[in-house]
Symmetry: D2
Subunit: 298 residues, 4 copies
């Protein structure tokens, strides 16, 4: 992207040859035996396995495997090729990924820095196994913060009149370098057209326990209702505002003393933790979307 983008993500031992296989298909006997048999014959050692079925009789089956296969990068095309017939026979949606092919994120923010700082710090420590390609904001305020972490910052103002044009600029930046867009308190609604470019690849943090307090100013609404807990929700963004598949939620306790400003301050700690967990699971291919809900193999 620029000189900035030489982000270092530390490797886990063996991560170079670590592969993942995600499968979704109609449930029926023999799937696991067939798939694990194939991997065994291909020389792979399974290190992690999780599965879920909506119903053993005629439901939908989901499987996530991690495996080590020496020289994975070189062998991957063959591995995929050899899997095709089997996959077709079972009616599978499937994909292999390599852990070493680290996902590239663009983070979009407005003025609040808490979720951004958390993601930047977790990337540096390796808890978030992703590259951060750039930060895009509709305000200039966080430029210095982002540069302090050695990353590119793009200021693209947005107004009602310039929105289409601004999104075009954003899409040009994201074009061929970014896998996933993270809305880390980005206070603009993205167009359906923009979002269609990132199906189940755009993650937002909403500052309430959805579906409570959909829309703007959830903390003011929470204060008005007198709730005893406030929450945050990380979800994939869809054209339907605040209604996309929920990846993660958490809450913290509040009481009658909390003003709207106090709720907002307290809420930041929940927001940053919830978003960081959701993004981590996403970049490690632990989230499967089905029927506007998520299966999280955490």
């Amino acid at each position: 992207m620029t000189a900035y983008s030489s982000v270092y993500v530390p490797e886990r031992p063996g991560m170079r040859d670590l592969g993942r296989l995600l499968i979704s298909c109609p449930d029926r006997p023999g799937i696991v035996a067939t798939v694990t048999g194939y991997l065994f014959r291909s020389g792979a050692t399974i290190t992690e396995s999780q599965q879920y079925t909506t119903d053993p009789n005629a439901g939908r089956f989901f499987l996530r495997l991690e495996f080590v296969l020496p020289e994975l990068e070189r062998k991957l095309a063959d591995l995929e090729h050899g899997f095709t017939d089997m996959a077709e026979a079972f009616g599978m949606e499937w994909r292999f990924t390599r852990a070493a092919r680290i996902k590239r994120l663009a983070i979009m923010v407005s003025k609040a820095d808490h979720a951004l700082q958390e993601l930047l710090w977790r990337r540096k420590t390796g808890d978030l196994r992703a590259e951060i390609s750039m930060v895009i904001s509709n305000h200039p305020d966080l430029a210095e913060t982002v540069h302090g972490w050695g990353l590119p910052f793009h200021h693209i103002p947005v107004s009602a009149e310039t929105k289409a044009e601004a999104e075009e600029k954003q899409l040009n930046l994201l074009a061929d370098d970014v896998d996933t867009v993270v809305l880390a308190r980005y206070m603009q609604v993205l167009s359906p057209d923009f979002l269609s470019r990132f199906p189940n690849q755009a993650i937002n943090i909403h500052h309430s326990f959805l579906p409570a307090f959909v829309g703007a100013n959830p903390y003011a609404a929470a204060e008005q209702r007198g709730v005893k807990l406030i929450g945050a929700t990380a979800h994939y963004v869809t054209a339907d505002l605040d209604a996309g598949p929920i990846i993660e939620q958490d809450v913290c306790r509040v009481d009658h003393r909390h003003s709207v400003a106090d709720l907002r301050r307290s809420g930041r700690y929940v927001e940053r933790a919830v978003l960081a967990r959701a993004v981590s699971w996403h970049v490690e291919d632990r989230v499967i979307v089905h029927d506007n809900k998520t299966i999280v193999f955490a």
Copy 2:
């Protein structure tokens, strides 16, 4: 009420002479000094004190004091009489209560026993400092359970046609013996007329994290939305369904594996804990309602 009602609630040391004073008034300087000075001159020792103001300038002020005054029962009328002028000068709403005058509850249930069992067990251990005068149900199922705890059980069936008549029967039972009505998963909506008899004295447990999933079948709605936490809410019942002042809320973590039945099973543990805490605070005069919200001096 009957031979049943000789419920034993163990006394804390000194509880016989333990008094409480609750005050709500426009905030202005000198309230605490005046009130505590009066109690001191009356021979009382303050053992607990909590206060809250919505705004030190022109807000509303709330105060809860616990104090020990030897021979409180005999002296209470004088204590109240002596307080009247001061209270009027400050524009106070106020009340003294004696801890030894234990509140009497009626519990209303349908078929589920978890919240009921918890209240009965906590009453026995003394964690819930209340008498339970009776249990009323629109179903006969829990009669044996209630009798097992040595308490009276009244079965009053309710249908669309008989609702008014049933409520009259209920009110007759509650007439002069009950301070507070606890709806421990009572699956009928009470009429505004019934509720007007128990202003801020009827507590319901709703099986969701309000204001999410108002109304019937919240667990089915939660499963449909794919939330990652489910909750429960204890609130005072008002004529506006599920919209009364919230006393307490809590949540537990769930995931994609939870069916609606699993959510319902898991939710019971949150429901019973939330309701029990709310009722405990209520019977110890720790909850003040203001502006459809609660101040809980826990």
Copy 3:
């Protein structure tokens, strides 16, 4: 056992033919493929699968499978027979169990009833999928409680002089009817000889967050140290006091206001929840002991 023992545990759909396979062996490639291939050929459908390896290179591998096999009861001996050679080749420790063969518990208590009540209630609701064969106590206090739930209660007093004799009586009662012993606040130390009869089959609840506050009076020690959280620990009992494999732990928040008695009261809610979870996992064959630690496939 007696007329008492006709305990009803509700069945999940399909539970009649639900089987479990637990395996522990040196890790090496091909285990999952081999095992699932065998189950598939045997006509079983896998419904749940969890695995763990201490180290993919030369570590130890653990696997738990749940599967449905029509007419499991009739076919189980054949299933086990057919598995033997394979198991030997991999050096496996293994066992098949049938979910419908519900485990039988004896609960041992002293005077406190909270953990006992919770287990009894969870058994009734089916959240604890076990039979409770009997309750044994060194005090008579809880006889009525236990009889109220329709279960046999055995009072066996224990003193320093009578301990050996008492344990013999206990063992006679447990003899051929009980799989697992649950110490639900039983305040006597069991002899190594007694415990040798229930290897990884006796579960205790200790009223602290182990290894903090080993031994007697943990709440007094916690108050003395001024901790801000108190905890409870469910563990398998070994001859080494409070040092057996930990199954589950949890905590609750306390503060400077809590006396020792308050800690004891608050702690009961953590104790009962921690013990109930541990026992549930145990009776569903979700706990594997390795190296004085537990692997919990929850």
Copy 4:
């Protein structure tokens, strides 16, 4: 201190005239009435009040008041002077503080940055109402991080031979500019002599749930014992290692999959949160030490 030290801490409305009064004395009737009467006559408005007694009969009484008094800075000496006789009559230990007189911290670190980053970020947002005068480390690693936040960093290496000399250098730096020392994962033991300069003014974060896992390598010990929760403890440092008064503790859930390295990674999130809360309470004069325990008026 240097050009660095122009740290900005945002003001709450009215914080300029916000005062605090902390009192500890033998309990007896009339304390609150006397103290609040005095403040009222002095023109102060009480905005927050918390009290605790170890025993209403002959125990020790603790009180924390926040109040607004116009022109507090100018009037403080008079306020203190007028309070002296009363305080003597009741045998009080007491102090008035001004919220606007923000406490100055020195943070001591080694190589880990998580607790440091959290304190720096919270200071910037105003959630931590303190100035950070400097960061001192026995390693050079975090120099750039600290400079990035615009703060002075002092590298003072420590070895067995140079320890006394190093502490002298540290004390010279701290001399007249620092109220409180925060050990944010500083991996050296401070001498009793050093600590005697900061009685109840040096806060450490220990990476275990004390008193479990006292001393070095608590995560290795936790992994060895197979605990299901790991914790962190913020405490005042005393000459007795890991045995000082506990200010705050918290835990997070772990399971059999966590290696020692995983525990260490997970634990950082608990450590930083626990330390930040403890330091916040400390700098707002919310912590009173009594009998090697803390009373926290949070």
